[in-house]
Symmetry: C2
Subunit: 111 residues, 2 copies
């Protein structure tokens, strides 16, 4: 089979990132967008600050309930979080590692 890769579409082939890495990256970005402190979100989520730090840095695999607790503490819906992460993953796939970080945060729900 002929493998003709459209080079003008794929500049640099990024390996697939791991879920926990992109999740953590997005959670931190969201928190920072809100100007919240790590200890505050951790407390609101009912988890230890050490653990939230590790989640944000992609060092731990949080359970689904933990993900729910942190997104809840951030006031973010799972669907919006996933959409935002998806967008980020796709963007990095197309352009490679971001040089200038684009402000990324899911849409906040109006309470």
């Amino acid at each position: 089979m002929a493998d003709i890769l459209p080079f003008h579409q794929e500049r640099t082939r990024e390996p697939e990132p791991l879920w926990r890495v992109v999740l953590g990256r997005n959670l931190r970005a969201t928190r920072e967008e809100q100007g919240s402190r790590l200890v505050d979100i951790a407390e609101r989520a009912g988890i230890s600050p050490q653990y939230l730090s590790e989640i944000e840095r992609g060092r731990k695999e949080p359970s689904s309930e933990m993900i729910a607790a942190v997104t809840g503490a951030l006031g973010v819906e799972l669907g919006d979080l996933l959409a935002d992460i998806a967008g980020e993953v796709r963007r990095r796939r197309a352009t490679g590692p971001a040089v200038g970080r684009r402000p990324a945060g899911p849409v906040l729900m109006a309470a």
Copy 2:
């Protein structure tokens, strides 16, 4: 504070689904769309069929590497998978549990 909720936008308030549930649901839907067998995808992913069954039914929290192995076996990119799950979560949030399942599957990559 005045809490004015636009009722015409929110018909029924669905509790947030768990990540492992929506992930598993989407993986199974994707596999079935492709007409693949569970044992084949499990083998290709290098995991046991029993385990893939449990992942698909939202019974287990797969590690990020496992998610990568399964998406790889399905020929699906993480970003596309996440986008599709996000769309599904948002759809269910807006309309409640789906009565008729809309065909849901991420876009397959052209090799």
